[in-house]
Amino acid sequence: MNTIKSYLDNMFLRLPQTDDVTRAKMELLAMMEDKYNELKNNGKTENEAIGIVISEFGNLDELGDSLGIKQLIENKTEVSIVTYEEAKKYIEDSRAIAPKTAFGVLLCIISPIIMLLLIGLRELNIIIVKEDLLIAIGLVVLISLVATAVSYFIRFSSKLEKYDYLKINPFELDYETEKMVKSVQNEDEPPYKSAIAVSVVGYILSALPVIITPLVSEVEGFGVLSVTVTLLIVALSTYNIIIKSAANDACNVLLQQGDYSVKNKTNKKFQTITTVYWCITVAVFLGYSFITNNWGMSWIIWPVAGVLFGAIKAITDSQS
């Protein structure tokens, strides 16, 4: 009986899961089951019964007209199928890797903290050592933290590399898998939403130490120390958001929603524009900043480029 069921599952794998299709599948299965049981009762062996049932099943093309899916059956394209196991594994792996990636990012963000702390304390005359020495210590800590982070990225992100095709190529999920992914995403939604809320509040609050400290005290040391507090808040907010959004992001990839929609994937022109656009932005930023040494102002390019990118995306979307 399982053979018959999986035969039918396979036949229906590529069809859209509309109510009509689901009903057709159930009805066909019922008929096949009846026939199978009767053949078995009449003394046929398991294999004979299965053989007869499958040979008398007919052709799915016949259903096209009555189910309103004729076009789909006839234009069957070779789209790959992501199985239940693959989808489950991808979500699990994404969840498992997220804390490592998040920790790496955290290390990067807090990497200058020790240097800032030492310099701040020196300004306040709490540590009385030559500034060069403090900078050297700070740099050693900074570089080791970044190095640790990079080794984390290399080690763990490579574990997700094998799933990259999910983000690039269009694919299909069968009904059961899609249901599973949707339920994972639904379950994950409350913690995900609250994590985003907490982190966004964190990002907004992170500006406060830097803004308030100069108002309260003019001692330069406090200003430097306040930056460490800001970095710490940013680091924790980012850590939180990366961990909590992992499952949701994986589900979006599997359901091909948002950035991972089939429309975006097939829109190669837009992908090219995106790559060229951001490369140029980085080049302009670095070029301008190094030549003029005006790093204090040149960062403006990022918010400007971000908003402009939205406009470009809207234009290309309307054209396609």
């Binding site: 057709a24 009805e27 066909l28 019922a30 008929m31 096949m32 089951e33 009846d34 026939k35 009767e38 008398e56 099943f57 007919g58 052709n59 799915l60 016949e62 259903l63 007209d65 009555s66 189910l67």
Partner: protein
Amino acid sequence: MISSDVIRGYNDTMILSLLLNEPSYGYEISKRIRELTEEKYIMKETTLYSAFKRLETNGFIDAFAGAETNGKPRTYYRITEAGKNYYKDKCEEWEITQEVIEKFIVKENNNEYNKKLS
């Protein structure tokens, strides 16, 4: 086995004819067709189901949930008044079709044709 191209136009007629007696469900109808035709015609599951859908869309049959078997309610079909009228029309159509085609069919005892064919 009969070529399904020829018989396709009359699948609906066969199903309606069986439903005239009493409501029935998928497998029973396919079994009755097989038995009545002495296994000369076996209706494929997909053919049967697409015929159900077509008849239902045209209002010739109604689907309803019957008694449970193996824990699942079985879908039964019953013929409607429109279905009965359609069945009558199809029967008349068949009489004429048969009459027309007959004119072109070789009878075993027709010596004139047998000569030409050999």
